[in-house]
């Protein structure tokens, strides 16, 4: 073994250096470049050299109804999906947090949606939702309910997409909360039981408050991912019918790679980026507080 004292005393930046360079080149630089593009009138279709236009794109895009509707829709989609996932996910975790036959199998099943290819998931749900041959309407009719148009109707499309996100990502919250519950001490609950507390009181007043930091972290992680939902929406509706399911991510994609209006697209990407960044800052603040 050769002893290189230079390497040894500088290991703290030599080891991470390749990763840092990579991230700087493929993440930091592109984000700065996108910000620069948002200040130009660049389009790939015209062939003209881009010129600096200051904040003109922002003035244009940020008041455009199509953008504002996409922004609103992104909020509605994200908040309703994550709210449902949080409630169902925590409920499922509390349900499964006991010893029972088949527990491991159920935990394995919960993993499967998380690793399933989102595009393929979207396509399977397309078949579910198909108005003439889909299982979804068959179930509604068997229950004596009227059939729905699901993703082909502007009024129900967003709700139908939320169902897909809920199906795929609720297990994420369940598994995280289950891991959090496993790390809790039994003692407070035992003490309360001896004092005559009911099971429901124990869950509501002891277990949930104790596992709250884990729930909050899981919810923020989901919020960040739900904001960025692209694959299932793109595969299932492409933002349609009309613009009825167009979120920021979808509209950013269309402006970039369908209309090639790079300057305007960059504005949308910067806005999306800032929203996600704000959520990320929230998560690091929060994790610092729970660690302290």
């Amino acid at each position: 073994m050769t002893h290189n004292s230079y390497a040894d005393s500088n290991i703290r930046w030599i080891y991470p250096l390749p990763a840092i360079l990579f991230v700087a080149l493929l993440m930091v630089f592109p984000v700065l470049y996108t910000t620069y593009i948002s200040l130009t009138n660049w389009t790939l279709t015209s062939g003209a050299a881009p010129s600096f236009v200051g904040l003109a794109n922002y003035g244009q895009v940020l008041v455009e109804p199509r953008f504002l509707q996409a922004l609103w829709r992104t909020m509605v989609f994200t908040i309703s999906a994550v709210a449902v996932e949080a409630v169902l996910g925590v409920a499922a975790a509390l349900l499964l947090n006991r010893v029972f036959v088949g527990r491991n199998l159920v935990k394995l099943l919960l993993l499967l949606p998380l690793v399933a290819t989102p595009v393929a998931v979207g396509i399977v749900f397309n078949l579910f939702y198909d108005p003439t041959i889909g299982l979804a309407n068959y179930v509604l009719e068997s229950l004596g309910l009227p059939a729905s148009s699901w993703i082909s109707d502007a009024r129900t499309v967003l709700f139908s997409l939320v169902i897909v996100d809920v199906w795929q990502w609720t297990p994420m919250i369940t598994l995280i909360v289950l891991a959090g519950l496993a790390a809790l001490s039994d003692e407070p609950a035992e003490a309360a039981r001896i004092d005559g507390a009911s099971e429901w009181q124990i869950i509501r007043l002891i277990t949930i408050p104790m596992v709250m930091p884990v729930i909050v972290t899981a919810v923020i992680l989901r919020l960040i991912d739900a904001l960025k939902t692209f694959d299932i929406i793109f595969a299932m509706t492409g933002g349609g019918p009309g613009y009825a399911s167009e979120t920021l991510n979808l509209i950013g994609y269309k402006y970039s790679f369908e209309y090639f209006r790079m300057g305007q697209a960059a504005v949308i990407l910067v806005v999306l980026f800032l929203i996600v960044l704000a959520c990320s800052v929230a998560i690091t603040r929060l994790s610092k507080r729970t660690a302290a």
């Binding site: 073994m1 290189n4 040894d8 290991i11 703290r12 080891y15 991470p16 390749p18 990763a19 840092i20 990579f22 991230v23 493929l26 993440m27 630089f29 592109p30 984000v31 996108t34 593009i37 349900l95 029972f100 159920v106 935990k107 099943l109 993993l111 499967l112 998380l114 690793v115 290819t117 989102p118 595009v119 393929a120 396509i123 078949l127 003439t132 041959i133 889909g134 299982l135 068959y138 199906w167 598994l175 995280i176 289950l178 959090g180 930091p213 899981a218 960025k228 692209f230 694959d231 595969a235 950013g252 994609y253 970039s256 790679f257 990407l269 910067v270 999306l272 996600v276 990320s280 994790s287």
Partner: protein, 270 residues
Amino acid sequence: MKKVGFKILFYGAVVLLAAIVLMPFLWMLISSLKTQVDIVAWPPKFVFSPTTQNYYKVFAEQDFIRYFFNSTIVAVFAVGVSLLLGLPAAYSIARFSQRRLALTILLARLMPGISFLMPWYIIFSRLGLMDTYVALVLSHVLIALPIVVWIMSSYFETIPMELEESAMVDGASRNYIFLRIILPLSGPGIITATTLAFIFSWNNFLFSQVLSMEKTRTLPIAVFNFLSYADIDWGGVMAASVAIMAPALVLTMIFQRYVVSGLTMGAVKG
């Protein structure tokens, strides 16, 4: 009596939960074994004579095997490069508590992929790298690297310092310690990171949709393209969906414990 009632209620709830989770997978599998006539039948058929013609059709088509190969190449190289870059970085983060560095790399996991994608598209076009494995692998490293760094830095923190200190007293260099002492002890962490990084690269749609064309097209794009025909061949697209999901599902079943710990670790640790 009350206990029995609770048990019935409890197992009823568990079965319902399992059924909801499994339903889309089962319906995908069932539909992939149906003829087009059976698929479009109303009411939906639950009893039918199964056929393998959809699978035969999908795999007999030369291109589908190539997309499978492309997905594999891209994921394997992206994970390999991520391990090469990520393992030393994660070790340094764990040993020297480089929290800010860890968060910067984690940002790549949190940020919307599309905000890097437009500049990549422009730059890769200029460099003549569109529709090449190089461009795809580079983009997928940005998916895999944060996973490797995040999982491995937590893992390295669990390896006791004393081990390294005694080796250092014996005159071992940092490289020797990392390569010969730490890495051989890190098997479970590396399995977790590799499995998850592979799955997330395998499932990625957006990067390949923009950066790949005919030559390097990956599976998710190929499956998506089934939808563009006016008359959707549901049997074919379901067989293709089964084929694309199978590797990730099988990996998850084999490495269940690792996948769970990888997916939940950051949140529980705080």
